[in-house]
């Protein structure tokens, strides 16, 4: 994409498909990593406005270590604007436990969600995805039913601990259907290549033991 290098055109802030970037972010390496969406600079309370109601503050932990008060002043300035408020932390120090804990707590009080990115690439990706997904329906993460038989079977059987995909193949080829696998006896399972006692026991536990005991 050439858009990452091209000068962003000047458009009305808040409209269109561009991420609006606060001028304070000029020179941030993250800008290079925002791909596949348009970018423009504009006067906003957040660092990045990645949607009509979504504002992102960017914080490098290295910077935070030097200026711990910075993020608080930014949050204060943010006030109550935006519906979805995000602090994007760039985790670039090894002593991250303390600052992340502190920022998490602050976020909870101020209704801000924390996202931790582990590289500039990562951070840039988050920013562009927010814009791209702005109007996307949640189908991607909802329960779906359109998967094909084999992958459901694999997902189902591998929930049992110690069962791997080779075993799924073996089960499928020896018994055929899921219902037949459920009916398989201990000995039948035991005789399959690659099936030890523990694996057989786990499988039987999952299929034969009751879900709940009734009081």
């Amino acid at each position: 994409m050439s858009s990452s290098t091209a000068k962003p055109p000047v458009v009305q802030p808040g409209a269109g498909n561009n991420i609006i970037i606060s001028p304070t972010q000029r020179g941030n390496p993250v800008l290079e990593c925002i791909r596949n969406v348009g970018k423009e600079f504009g006067d906003i309370a957040a660092d990045y406005q990645v949607g009509r109601t979504t504002g992102v503050l960017f914080l490098s932990l290295k910077y935070h270590r030097l200026h711990p008060e910075y993020i608080h002043t930014r949050v204060e300035k943010l006030g109550h604007s935006y519906g979805l408020r995000i602090i994007l932390i760039h985790c670039d120090v090894s002593e991250h436990r303390e600052p992340i804990r502190e920022i998490t707590k602050m976020g909870l009080i101020n209704n801000i969600t924390v996202i931790v990115a582990f590289s500039y690439e990562d951070a840039g990706h988050y920013l562009s995805t927010f814009k791209q997904f702005e109007h996307k329906p949640p189908d991607l993460i909802k329960e779906r039913v359109d998967k094909d038989h084999n992958s459901i079977l694999r997902t189902a059987l591998t929930t049992i601990s110690r069962v791997n995909k080779t075993d799924v193949e073996t089960l499928k080829s020896s018994f055929g259907s899921f219902a037949n696998i459920a009916k398989a006896s201990n000995d039948q399972l035991q005789n399959l290549p690659g099936f030890g006692q523990v694996k057989v026991k786990n499988i039987k536990n999952a299929f034969d033991k009751p879900f709940r005991n009734r009081a």
Partner: protein
């Protein structure tokens, strides 16, 4: 129950004192269970409450049985697992006695005060080697010691090799268990040496060379391992990989070493390295399978491997097969493995398979023939099948080779020798004093490494043709196996073709021909099964007498049923077998009652009753005496001791080397003075088996030496220093420290507490929360995993959980629920302690959680698996866009989570358990009941089942199996029309 040996006695003397807490490390095979049971017997009364934790299910039942045999029925060992309700458990605890509890249940009970912790007389911890700061057992000990300073705690382990984690592993274990003394008893301990080396068993070591093709495969696998290892080294030059050599790669622990080495950089290594690490495991398994599977099964496993390796689940050809699979060595493996089964003659390759209908009739006849059945059609077939070695159903152009494992022939020879020896002994004049010493039976005990092997061996022995030239003794069995192999292979192939074609229409497209052939194989299979059942029936009758000896343990019988075969089985007729089977059914009841009454008397009497029964059998049906029976059993740890004691075999064949079992024989021999035991010890010469055995011995010795050294220099944990008097002081400290952490001026009257979902006790977080002085309140929560404050509800996800629940859509539903019921719904993403704190790690797990077609890499040298990372992060973004109120906690380890929780609890009111439980719980009627999470997970993963209806389904059916057995209408009735149909079709597709 044989008496204790002198060293057993001295160990018990040292550890029995209820005023001390001890850790006992004993070498494997020296009778840890016997010591344990003797110790537990002391406390068998309602006045005591002794808990046993960390025992596996088999161990629980076996220990219970052994205690029963020792006369503990006051009321003996009782077992608490998830099938018992709250109330039942409470009653049980109140009654006292010996109780074995699953750790997860015990923790919850201790937290909910279902168990009177202060009244516990003692806790016995098995498998102490597994105890670390993060496991539930450590949590239990902490809870126990909080309220109870007088009770004892005894920990046991017989796996010194596993005590390796950290700088001072032994000290860590002792610290977690709050113990001060440790007793180490290796095999080379003075007392043990003295007890065992007075009488030695007569051991004959037999080294069997591999066949040419087997050693070819063996070498090729070793070569593959070497290649994989050097590849691994090459791609990770920065790591200290000195331990990476072929010798170490034989062991399972090697995987752990590799993972530990790579964990710190695991997120940086590419999928290639991960594949290599996986491959090492596969190759190691192949090596053991080579020596234990028959040639056909080995071939079948190889084919499955190839099949699962070349295609991904969606049927697309995989682009990165395991590197070893494309080497020359792998080619040798595949070729040689195939050559061991059959060869294809090229001349007839073009010829089609014979007409299906023809094969049908004749195939059955041929099968009958194989089974040595004298059917009505067999007379005319006899001549034919004698001259053709190849049955009719073998495809043309295929010449079955069916190489047998060389140990089979060796075993047959040994059994012949044993037979001769028995006859020789019998011809000798009886010994002068026969009455005082109970002589061993002439039963030959064959020990194998797995149940599967035991099955194969008993098959082999029952169908053995003693006259055949060596190497083909088990031809009959192998032909039968070939048959089922061919049937299986047909299925695999058709399946693969289906896979290749995609999901939808593949089924309809199945050709008529194939349908025919599957129908045929089904029919033949059924026939086969019938045969197997019949022959099983026969076998059981033959071995009826000794089996009733061992059958006194009905629970054990269920898991590892001893299979009994007569050595020189003549080809009995089908009719005979049938009549035996009928007879068996009729007498089974009688035998069962005999056994039941026999359990009250001790083992010696048992032997007597069984002989009596045998006489009965003998006179009526002319069956073989136990002198000529062979029992094949897999090694089964401490259970073997009681088998030896019950069967009293004079001849033992160890089909595979096993250090523990040799010790067991030593103990058995020493506790039965005057018994001449002969042991045959079989090893494949120059194979990994031999090497593994020797290295195993060395490793155990070294780890013992290390432990002894550590004990000598150990600084004892100071934790124990605060005596019972200081508990109040402790509490004060707690309040002060929580006050400082909270930054509050006033002393809080209510201690801080977190409500934790029952299901969460599998994770380490509850234990750590408790360790940091937060009260953990267990409850069955419908919404969320942790309720931190009345407003904050946390859903914890480990990385792999996160991915799978994004894929299944569960997370969406959970966030929906949390948002409805709580002001601050929180998603906690928890990374693992010693792994890298980074999302890139995900690309690894992603590959099998939801494989997608790989896109070509856009940039050279970019982060590998970038696509995978992207999609997880995009999903997080999508989730946040739809639930703007959901907060995310990023915790680099469970310890970090605890800190964050403490921070969140500051200046906030405490959550109310009653309210938390009632939230969203309307649809789950079975609160507080035991949960079988494995079954629940499996059910959830079926199509048509959602987080909303899963509880309803669980209330309708008992288990997954029952659910699978329902008809279409019934499933639709539960799930509704469309999802019901979907679900039913999923379950029954491929039938």
């Amino acid at each position: 129950m044989p008496g204790l040996l002198p060293f057993h006695k001295s160990i018990i003397e040292r550890i029995h004192d209820p005023a001390t807490n001890d850790l006992l490390v004993l070498a494997r095979g020296l009778g840890l269970r016997r010591i344990l049971c003797t110790l537990m017997k002391i406390y068998d009364s309602p006045k005591n409450l002794v808990l046993m934790v960390n025992a596996s299910q088999e161990e629980e039942s076996e220990i219970g049985e052994e205690l029963g045999l020792m006369g503990c029925r006051n009321p003996g060992l009782r077992i608490v697992d998830f099938e018992k309700t709250n109330k039942e458990r409470q009653d049980l605890y109140k009654k006292g006695g010996l109780i074995s509890v699953t750790s997860r249940i015990l923790v919850v009970d201790m937290l909910q005060a279902n168990i009177p912790t202060e009244l516990i007389s003692g806790i016995i911890v098995l498998h102490a080697e597994k105890v670390t700061a993060l496991v539930l057992e450590a949590f239990i000990v902490r809870l126990y010691r909080e309220k109870n300073r007088t009770g004892f705690l005894k920990a046991f382990t017989d796996q010194p090799e596993h005590i390796t984690s950290g700088l001072s592993p032994l000290k860590n274990i002792m610290k977690e268990l709050q113990l001060r003394s440790v007793h180490i008893y290796p095999r080379f301990h003075q007392e043990i040496k003295k007890s065992l080396e007075r009488r030695r068993a007569d051991v004959i070591e037999l080294s069997q060379p591999l066949t040419t093709s087997m050693s070819e495969i063996h070498q090729a696998i070793i070569q593959c391992i070497t290649i994989t290892l050097s590849e691994l080294k090459r791609s990770n030059t920065s790591l200290d990989l000195d331990d990476f050599n072929v010798e170490n790669a034989y062991f399972r622990s090697f995987d752990i070493i590799v993972r530990r080495q790579l964990d710190s950089v695991w997120h940086k290594v590419g999928p290639k390295t991960k594949q290599l690490v996986n491959d090492l495991g596969t190759l190691r398994r192949l090596l053991t399978y080579l020596l234990s599977y028959d040639s056909l099964q080995f071939q079948a496993y190889l084919e499955t491997l190839v099949a699962s390796n070349t295609t991904s689940s969606s049927g697309v050809l995989k682009q990165h097969p395991s590197p070893w699979m494309v080497t020359d060595a792998a080619n040798i493996i595949f070729q040689a493995a195939k050559r061991r089964c059959y060869t294809m003659s090229p001349s007839t390759k073009a010829a089609e398979r014979p007409q299906v209908i023809d094969v049908d009739e004749e195939g059955w006849d041929a099968l009958d023939e194989i089974h040595g059945t004298v059917g009505k059609s067999s007379r005319q077939n006899t001549s034919r099948s004698r001259k053709v070695d190849k049955p009719f159903w073998v495809p043309q152009g295929m010449d079955p080779v069916l190489e047998e494992l060389p140990k089979w022939t060796l075993l047959a020879d040994i059994l012949k020798e044993i037979e001769g020896e028995i006859i020789r002994q019998e011809s000798l004049p009886p010994p002068a004093v026969p009455s005082t010493v109970v002589p061993g039976t002439n039963t030959a005990l064959v020990m194998t490494s797995s149940t599967r092997e035991a099955g194969i061996l008993s098959d082999f022995l029952s169908d053995m043709d003693a006259e055949a030239p060596p190497g083909t003794l088990g031809r009959k069995m192998m032909i039968r196996k070939l048959y089922s192999y061919l049937a299986w292979k047909g299925k695999l192939n058709s399946q693969q073709r289906n896979d290749g074609r995609g999901s939808g229409s593949a089924f309809a497209a199945t050709t008529f021909e194939r349908q025919n052939s599957t129908a045929l194989s089904e029919a033949l299979k059924k026939k086969d099964r019938e045969k197997a059942e019949r022959s099983a029936g026969r076998r059981r009758v033959r071995g009826g007498a000794p089996s009733s000896t061992t059958a006194s343990s009905s629970t054990r019988k269920a898991s590892v049923e001893p299979t009994l075969i007569d050595v020189d089985a003549p080809g009995d007729s089908n009719m005979e077998a049938d009549s035996f089977a009928e007879f068996w059914a009729a007498t089974q009841n009688a035998t069962a009652t005999a056994v039941e009454s026999a359990t009250v008397v001790d083992a010696d009497d048992l032997d007597f009753t069984s002989t009596e029964l045998l006489v009965d059998f003998d006179t009526n049906y002319g069956l073989l005496t136990p002198e000529e029976t062979v029992v094949v059993r897999p090694y089964s740890d401490d259970g073997d001791d009681s088998i030896l004691a019950e069967m009293r075999p004079k001849f033992i064949v160890m089909f595979e080397p096993n250090m523990d079992f040799i010790r067991r024989i030593e103990v058995y021999k020493s506790s039965n003075p005057g018994l001449a035991v002969r042991v045959y010890h079989m090893v494949y010469g120059d194979s990994c088996e031999e090497h593994k055995y020797l290295v195993g011995i060395r490793k155990e010795k070294e780890s013992f030496e290390r432990l002894i050294k550590e004990r000598a220099t150990m600084l004892l944990p100071t934790l124990e220093a605060k005596g019972p008097g200081s508990t109040s002081n402790d509490a004060l400290l707690k309040t002060i420290s929580s006050r400082i952490a909270g930054g509050r001026r006033e002393i809080s009257t209510t201690p801080s507490q977190v409500i934790v979902d029952m299901r969460e006790f599998r994770s380490t977080l509850p234990s750590l929360l408790h360790a940091s002085n937060i009260i953990v309140v267990p409850a069955t929560l419908t919404v969320g995993d942790y309720i931190v404050t009345p407003d904050i509800c946390v859903e914890r996800k480990s990385l792999s959980d996160l991915i799978s629940s994004f894929n299944s859509g569960r997370l969406y539903t959970q966030c929906e629920l949390m948002s409805v019921h709580y002001k601050h719904p929180v998603l906690l993403i928890e990374f693992e302690e010693d792994k890298a704190f980074s999302l890139e790690i995900v690309s690894d797990m992603k590959s099998y959680v939801k494989p997608t077609a790989k896109y070509p890499q856009k940039k050279g040298g970019g982060i590998e698996g970038n696509q995978a990372v992207t999609s997880l992060q995009s999903k997080i973004v999508l989730l946040l866009l739809h639930f703007p109120r959901v907060r995310i906690i990023w915790a680099s380890s469970p310890y970090a989570t605890v800190e964050i929780f403490q921070e969140l609890k500051q200046a906030n009111p405490e959550p109310d358990p009653v309210k938390a439980i009632s939230v969203g719980a309307e649809n789950d009627a079975e609160l507080g009941a035991g949960i079988n999470s494995a079954a629940e997970e499996l059910l959830r993963s079926l199509p048509g089942i959602t987080a909303k209806n899963v509880h309803y389904v669980m209330s309708k059916v008992k288990n997954v199996r029952e659910f699978c057995g329902l008809g279409l209408e019934q499933v639709q009735e539960i799930l509704g029309n469309e999802p019901g149909k979907l679900c039913w079709e999923f379950m029954h597709r491929g039938e």
